[in-house]
């Protein structure tokens, strides 16, 4: 069992929670704002050492407190994360470890309400969706993304201060940017091999993930990136920011060549996001092994009962799962096999 025990102190609206004997399937029932999502976020932090939405660590501390703590037994290792006075401490078996060491322990994948933006959001939202999934499943992608964005920030700052020296940052930008593009290409291929049957089973329609890069790739990705940077040189001095690269890439979901933003119903959009995540999940297991913990927050109710069952069947018993809902009658299949927790005002009653 990945997660067996968890202890949460002064985190969001949870003052003190201690749960032993966490089950393979877990169902958290409570009203909106009771603290279900915060509990999922605590599990996420224990695996990835970062919050699942972009907020600062100080925002995670309970009101009027000045530190939080989360500890848990994951895969027989004692993992602990503490934060106080702008200092983060990560420990495995009582020994302080690096971020990389901490996060190499257990993978986790979230299914959140905002995932629907992959089908309905802006290009930034759609790119963010893909970046988030790959960052939590592929640590090399996560590292490349961080380095790329740091190089991009420095380069844009350079373009404002002394544009003739912007080339200084090209090597870093190209190195990590090419890595991102290479991985996005590979993953898009993998996803397209597996998403058709899943989605077809749900809606009798064919869908496809389309990846649109900002420049044409000839020979190597790095060479093409370098050439394009050379071509946009004058334009970027005038615009004072980097005009080409994976930070401007676009992803689209196409169905019979129509774009998902224009055709899909709310249920279809939700189904698209769930099917995509399933594909990423199943492929990452094939590549890296190890079953991630799944945190499934309030996303199943937009599907009708039939398709919901198909989704749950696909997950099967392969993962440790945490579902949330406002009432247990909403997820009968889950309820039958799950340990059910009631969540009220930040308290968890099991």
């Amino acid at each position: 069992m990945p997660l067996e025990k968890i202890k949460i102190l002064r985190f969001r609206n949870h003052k003190e929670i201690e749960i032993e004997g966490v089950s393979a399937t877990n169902l958290l029932i409570g009203e909106n704002g009771s603290g279900k999502t915060n509990f999922l976020e605590a599990i996420f932090l224990l695996c990835r050492a970062s919050p699942f939405r972009s907020v600062s660590f100080s925002d995670l501390i309970q009101w009027n407190e000045n530190s939080f703590y989360i500890g848990g037994l994951i895969d027989n290792l004692q993992a602990e994360i503490g934060y106080s006075l702008e200092k983060k401490v990560l420990k495995i078996n009582s020994k302080t470890v690096s971020f990389q060491e901490f996060t190499s322990n257990q993978n986790v994948l979230t299914f959140l309400p905002e995932d629907i933006f992959i089908a309905s959001g802006s290009p930034e939202d759609r790119r963010g969706f893909i970046d988030k999934i790959l960052s939590s499943l592929d640590s090399e992608y996560f590292f490349a993304l961080q380095r790329y964005h740091q190089a991009l920030k420095q380069r844009n700052s350079q373009l404002k201060l002394a544009p003739k020296d912007a080339f200084i940052w090209n090597e870093e930008l190209i190195r990590w940017g090419s890595k991102l593009i290479e991985k996005r290409l590979t993953w898009t291929q993998l996803i397209n091999k597996s998403i058709r049957p899943i989605y077809y089973d749900w809606y009798q329609q064919e869908i496809e993930l389309k990846y649109l890069n900002t420049f044409k790739i000839e020979n190597s990705i790095a060479d093409s990136f370098a050439k394009t940077l050379e071509k946009t040189k004058i334009q970027e001095v005038y615009k004072k920011c980097t005009q080409t690269g994976p930070h401007r890439d676009n992803f689209e979901i196409l169905s019979r060549a129509k774009n998902s933003r224009f055709f899909a119903s709310q249920g279809q959009k939700r189904a698209i996001s769930l099917a995509l995540k399933l594909c990423f999940l199943e492929n990452s297991e094939k590549i890296f092994g190890g079953a991630p913990i799944l945190l499934i927050d309030d996303v199943l109710l937009e599907l009708d009962a039939n398709r919901r069952e198909k989704f749950l069947e696909r997950i099967g018993e392969n993962y440790q799962t945490f579902f949330t809902a406002t009432s247990k009658e909403l997820l009968p299949t889950i309820q039958r096999k799950a340990r059910v927790f009631r969540v009220e005002n930040g308290m968890i009653l099991g």
Partner: protein, 197 residues
């Protein structure tokens, strides 16, 4: 409310890196509890630290003499320079007793986000130092970050065609870390910079 002098002490000491107001208060009370001699030698130490210390005009090391002992030591290998970000890094490398060459302190890394451009670092003086010297190798001991790597690349670019070997420190798994906890990225870099046994 603390007495005026203690308050002043706390404000000044909490400006030091890694020391907050609470620690600063504890330090203040501790010094008050000690004999007068301790406070005197502490304040002398701080006073002379700045008064006696100079920057070596050749390498940028902190020293009581200019040039510093490392630059004037003729037993050191004059054909290799290790480029570091700060003078403190020299002492970390010296503590290993393995490196016998010269040093050059850059005084930071290129970072337009912090307003630091190549001209703000001791890059020009490094190039001058190399000009017409017997330097055959430069070891970059800059940090393995976007900025550290870019600074090293920038200097490498400036020295293109000079027939100088340029290396950077190996990256990878910290000594003593079990493979399973190393993390993919460290492991990847360690495989790339593997060495003969």
């Amino acid at each position: 409310m603390f007495p005026k002098n203690l308050g002043q002490f706390i404000r000044l000491f909490s400006r030091l890196p890694g020391i907050g107001v609470k620690t600063s208060e504890r330090l203040g009370f501790y010094i008050l509890s000690q004999p007068k001699e301790f406070a005197d030698s502490l304040s002398d130490a701080i006073h002379f630290l700045k008064e006696k210390a100079k920057l070596c005009s050749l390498c940028g090391n902190i020293s009581e003499d200019d040039p510093c002992v490392l630059c004037t030591d003729t037993h050191r290998d004059q054909s290799v320079i290790c480029v570091v970000e700060n003078a403190m890094d020299i002492y970390s490398i010296e503590a290993t007793h393995i490196y016998q060459g010269l040093y050059h302190v850059l005084g930071g890394v290129i970072s337009p986000l912090d307003g630091i451009m190549p001209k703000d670092l001791k890059i020009e003086s490094l190039l001058k130092r190399i000009q017409g010297s017997s330097i055959k190798e430069i070891i970059f001991a800059t940090s393995p970050t976007t900025e550290g790597d870019t600074t090293a690349l920038y200097i490498k670019e400036m020295l293109k065609g000079k027939n100088i070997r340029m290396t950077h420190l190996a990256r990878g798994i910290p000594v003593g870390t079990a493979l399973q906890y190393a993390g993919n990225t460290s492991l990847l870099q360690a495989i790339r910079s593997r060495e003969e046994i």
